[in-house]
């Protein structure tokens, strides 16, 4: 993996799980006719006895995964994001959350990365609904290196995890480093604004920071690949330092990372907070890059929103 190269997030995820499965025979992969397109082709070939194809039944698969987990297995179930979060929500809530089962749900083609396929295939509420399940960890790695390290952390974590990955090829932003669940990273330091980013939009947030720098705005950019639980300490410290916080995410403005941070800071460190994401509407469809631009989630859009928030 070379910095700057673009890699398929699904293949990156699937290869990471296959590699982890070589060392850990508790890992099993579940499929709702979704395994091959989730990057699991190597796993299917290497571990056919640990691959459970069930056809298109996300509710059933989630329950079956819970049952397998009670016997010590670590089921990994990846499919299109709305189908492993909305369709099977009660199974995630009861069979994984309430039963505290060690199952890893992975929503791929998340946010609106399924772009022109439309709102049925978008997931713009997954952070919100999954963080409402007590004990559920919510991850959104920001580049291929972080997908690999997040997979390792997800498998090592005892308990249910929801991880979201995108669809288009993703730029490698960093050398691979250890993924610590619940910890954010200061990606650039600055004094005028704390900008918090997660998942697929981080690549644009980094570019937006450069645009803002050229306008004389100094940004403290926090990468938050764990959406839940929040890194409260880092968020409060940064809020105190910059006095203003903006959160950018490929998610509805309600309930997601921005909502969670607004809840936290409203109680523990009240500062102006700008939630920047998708308004509470079914997003339109079209090419991914054009959607990013339409909803001002590309670098110029993020910079423009930040300047407006700062009154500049």
């Amino acid at each position: 993996m070379m910095i700057g190269e673009k890699l398929d997030p699904r293949k990156t995820f699937g290869a990471a799980i296959d590699e982890l499965a070589e060392q850990n025979d508790r890992i099993v992969v579940m499929s709702a006719d979704s395994g091959g397109s989730s990057g699991h082709k190597a796993f299917m070939k290497n571990h056919p006895d640990r691959y459970y194809e069930c056809g298109i039944m996300e509710q059933g698969v989630t329950g079956i995964a819970a049952g397998l987990a009670t016997t010590g297995k670590i089921p990994v179930f990846c499919a299109i994001a709305p189908f492993v979060t909305c369709r099977n929500y009660e199974m995630a809530r009861n069979d994984l959350g309430y039963m505290r089962q060690n199952v890893k749900l992975v929503g791929r083609n998340s946010g609106f990365t399924y772009s022109d396929l439309g709102a049925t295939h978008h997931s713009l509420e997954d952070f919100a609904i999954m963080r409402m399940i007590p004990g559920m960890v919510v991850l959104a790695p920001q580049d291929p290196s972080e997908i690999v390290s997040a997979c390792k952390a997800m498998i090592e974590h005892e308990g249910p995890v929801y991880m979201r990955i995108g669809n288009p090829a993703m730029e490698v932003l960093w050398e691979q480093k250890e993924f610590v669940i619940g910890k954010g990273n200061v990606l650039t330091d600055g004094d005028d604004l704390t900008l918090v980013t997660t998942g697929t939009v981080t690549v644009d947030a980094l570019k937006a920071v450069e645009l803002l720098k050229s306008k004389g705005v100094s940004v403290r950019l926090i990468g938050m690949p764990t959406v839940w639980p929040l890194d409260e300490e880092l968020l409060i410290e940064s809020s105190k330092k910059t006095g203003k916080v903006m959160v950018v995410e490929e998610h509805y403005i309600s309930g997601g990372l921005g909502g969670a941070i607004a809840e936290l800071l409203g109680e523990k460190c009240p500062v102006p907070v700008k939630r920047h994401g998708i308004p509470m509407l079914y997003a339109t469809s079209g090419p991914y890059n054009e959607l990013l631009s339409y909803y001002k989630l590309d670098a110029p859009g993020i910079a423009e929103t930040a300047l407006a928030f700062l009154g500049k």
Binding site: G55, Q59, G67, T70, M91, D95, M99
Partner: protein, 286 residues
């Protein structure tokens, strides 16, 4: 192996002692899901006292068979049996309905030893049981699950039914407690799923139909599982809702029962009379 008459009578007696435990919970909590508990308790008794590999002193023993209620509201059936089998002290029965009770209105695996799943929302149990069966297949443990008949309308059951058959989970044994009643009335009028056995057979299960309140038929079916190698087994258990308390039997109203007037005393009297009869019959048969 033909089970001896005395053994069957003893199982029947145990099932009525479990019914006594259920009434004790209802007395403590002033209400409860009575009807399904009484219709299913003969099956649950046979599982815990006749069939399953379990160790009440070591409820997490890895080699154990698993039991779960997909129809979690029938939990007093399981609580009554677990108490009788020695999983916990019977004084716990008197906490039903109270704060901090280990025996809530739907089962909680982290509160009570012997409970394997947190059920209550319908249509979850068969999927969980299928996963358990697949995970335990090489270990030689069986998984037993009791479902309700009204619950059959939940589509997720049919997802699990297909997956269990497709993955040849022949260590999975399911019962449908077919008492024919649900909250709103006769199951055939609310949403008719008959003929239920043919549906499961069409999904690839090996199916038998029995009288689920007849201990002899329950034991005979349990002796025969798996009915067919490579297939999950389905036992359609024709039962009577509220079986054992004559004035509540076969009524939708007893689904969730809040005893009024002398109803509880009358119910207890009927169950105690049956226990006395069966104690006598057991002695005579020995």
């Amino acid at each position: 192996m033909k089970t001896q008459k005395a053994e069957l009578l003893q199982l029947e007696l145990t099932a009525y002692r479990c019914r006594r435990n259920i009434l004790r919970m209802i007395e403590a909590g002033h209400h409860g899901h009575f009807g399904g508990a009484f219709s299913s308790v003969d099956i649950v008794t046979a599982l815990y006292f006749y069939k399953m590999k379990i160790d009440p002193k070591n409820p997490k023993w890895e080699g154990r068979d698993r039991f779960l209620l997909s129809a979690g509201h029938k939990c007093m059936s399981q609580y009554g049996v677990l108490a009788e089998r020695g999983f916990f002290d019977k004084s716990v029965l008197d906490t039903y309905g109270s704060l901090y009770s280990k025996i809530p209105g739907h089962p909680d695996m982290y509160k009570l030893p012997g409970v394997e799943a947190n059920t209550g929302a319908l249509g979850h149990g068969l999927s969980i049981a299928t996963g358990m069966a697949l995970g335990l297949k090489n270990q030689g443990s069986n998984v037993y699950v009791v479902m309700g008949d009204g619950e059959q309308a939940e589509g997720s059951n049919w997802e699990a039914a297909a997956a269990a058959a497709h993955h040849r989970a022949d260590n999975l044994v399911a019962f449908v407690d077919w008492n024919g009643l649900q909250i709103s009335g006769r199951t055939k009028d609310v949403m008719n799923f008959a003929p239920i056995g043919e549906k499961y057979a069409a999904f690839g299960w090996a199916v038998r139909e029995i009288d689920g309140n007849d201990m002899g038929q329950i034991v005979e079916a349990l002796d025969a599982v798996p009915f067919e190698k490579g297939k999950p087994s389905m036992i359609i258990a024709h039962t009577v809702k509220g079986k054992g308390v004559s004035f509540l039997e076969d009524t939708a109203a007893c689904h969730f029962w809040t005893p009024k007037g002398d109803e509880l005393e009358r119910a207890k009297a009927e169950v105690e009379a049956r226990i006395a009869e069966l104690e006598k019959a057991v002695k005579e048969a020995e």
